[in-house]
């Protein structure tokens, strides 16, 4: 199958990015160095081309009722202008995908989904829609939108200077807010979201505006950042990633996402199963003073018993230590207190890991 390219591909080539296949796209993995790109986002500002992601629109008077029924988090109760992170589950509670629901207005909702799950999500959502009678339309605009994320402590200043939003708009625009805006007479959607834990924006726009904005941000000194840095940044702040913490095999309750599953009396897909579901795993954070943890590595307890597995791991450039998220089987370890000890097995050797209560890095978002 031929790989797709985003509309910013020429720029990635000019910048000599390392390219690799990801979710059917030929994507920039890194431009200069993963470490430098991570530091740019934590300390200054970085930009990401995430145009491979999927965009579905749900519009109509019952749009928010339908999305509320579709996902586990509370969409009906959220105010217009808010973005909500949520899993999308099947009837049995397993996770089809995770996404951000952008409630642009009461009757216009944008779902931004993972590229690797876009087709699966589209079929699932259409299937559910076919079983219901909500007054709304569902359209797939994935090919019509480019998506640029601008992230870091200087992102707000740069967004103002680029003419995306005014000083007044910026000050009233909270983290996880979303609004419609114009850039050079073109309508764009601006969200104060991202996947790095830092302040920043995601800009859903037509391809021509995306090319202009990307070029403008580069000229203004934003560092182009690839998917490798994006993965490290999200892991440092302990955001889950589909294919790692989430999959077709687990429910949100297995990966620390109980907070995204609401009681919702009106019901939602998966509610009956999740109401009675007992999580199979403890979801924990491990810091490794020596060694680099990786997805799939075995986790053992003090008796050398295998008790779990690393779901994501890397060397954190920001703290200079190995960081990991892990699933620990509740069948092997009933409860976990803060003094519980774990070891990660790397190429046959045991490396002692420290259990962390909080995320490895607290991002600077407002």
């Amino acid at each position: 199958m031929d790989l797709q390219r985003t509309k910013l591909f020429d720029s990635h080539q000019e910048l000599k990015a390392k390219l690799a296949p990801f979710a059917g796209f030929e994507m920039p993995i890194q431009y200069t160095s993963v470490k430098d790109e991570v530091f740019s986002v934590r300390n200054h500002v970085g930009i990401f081309d995430v145009s491979h992601m999927g965009e579905f629109f749900i519009e109509g008077e019952e749009a928010s009722h339908f999305v509320d029924y579709l996902v586990t988090n509370d969409i009906k109760g959220a105010a217009a202008g808010r973005a909500i992170y949520t899993p999308l589950c099947r009837e049995d509670g397993t996770v089809v995908d995770d996404m951000i629901v952008y409630k642009i207005s009461m009757n216009k909702i944008l779902l931004c989904v993972n590229a690797s799950n876009m087709q699966k999500d589209w079929e699932h959502i259409n299937r559910i829609k076919g079983t219901t009678h909500f007054k709304c339309t569902l359209t797939n605009h994935t090919d019509d939108y480019s998506l640029i994320a601008i992230q870091g402590p200087k992102a707000a200043r740069m967004a103002i200077d680029a003419g995306i939003l005014s000083v007044g708009e910026e000050s009233g625009f909270a983290y996880y807010g979303v609004m419609e805006a114009t850039y050079q007479q073109k309508n764009i959607i601006v969200a104060r979201t991202g996947y790095t834990g830092e302040d920043g924006f995601e800009l859903f726009c037509d391809h021509e505006s995306a090319r202009k904005l990307w070029k403008k941000f580069l000229e203004m000194g934003a560092a182009p950042c690839g998917l490798a840095a994006r993965d490290v940044l999200r892991l440092e702040v302990c955001f889950p990633l589909y294919g790692h913490e989430l999959s077709d095999e687990v429910t949100p309750l297995d990966s620390g996402l109980k907070w995204t599953v609401k009681a919702k009396a009106s019901g939602f897909i998966g509610k009956a199963a999740l109401d009675h579901y007992k999580a199979k795993y403890h979801f924990i954070k491990l810091l490794l003073p020596e060694g680099v943890p990786r997805q799939g590595y075995v986790v053992e307890d003090e008796t050398n018993q295998e008790v779990g597995v690393i779901t994501s791991g890397t060397m954190s450039p920001t703290i200079g230590k190995g960081v990991a998220l892990a699933h620990i089987c509740k069948g092997k370890v009933a409860t976990i207190d803060k003094n519980k000890k774990f070891w990660i097995i790397i190429r046959g050797k045991r490396y002692e890991a420290k259990l962390q209560e909080k995320a490895f890095i607290i991002g600077g978002h407002k």
Binding site: I29, Q30, S33, V34, K35, A228, D231, V232, G291, V292, R294, T314, M315, P317, R347
Partner: protein, 126 residues
């Protein structure tokens, strides 16, 4: 940035460099290898006394996103290990040829002829 391939060293197709000195050799990973890997964050080396077999993994180099084996260019016994490079893996990025990994007493001198010179190795770096 152009890739450095010093004329006085020998190379393998797996991107290790070798410096020959009588009965022993010193080795590390090439400038091309470090560039491809990116920020190197972990280097695992064998202990002194370990017997190496040509072409078999002797250790591991990890970048932020990848794990790669390092292979023995020539069979032999490890006689010296550079603990500096394990303590400061980023040395491989700043100067791949001063960041040596191990010194090895050669078991089979016949294997030396199978190494590449700088000119041949340059063909492997395109």
């Amino acid at each position: 940035m152009s890739v450095k391939i010093p004329e006085n060293l020998k190379y393998t197709k797996d991107h290790e460099w070798v410096s020959l000195d009588g009965d022993c050799y010193t080795m590390g990973i090439s400038d091309y290898a470090q560039g491809q890997l990116g920020d190197i964050v972990f280097v695992e080396l064998p202990a002194i006394g370990t017997k190496l077999t040509k072409g078999k993994a002797l250790g591991v180099v990890e970048s932020i996103k990848s794990v790669s084996d390092v292979y023995a260019p020539i069979s032999g016994e490890v006689v010296e290990v550079n603990s500096e490079v394990s303590a400061h893996p980023e040395m491989c990025n700043s100067d791949a040829y001063s960041a040596w990994f191990i010194k090895v007493r050669i078991a089979n001198k016949g294997e030396i002829a199978e190494l590449m010179d700088a000119g041949s190795y340059a063909q492997c770096c395109n």
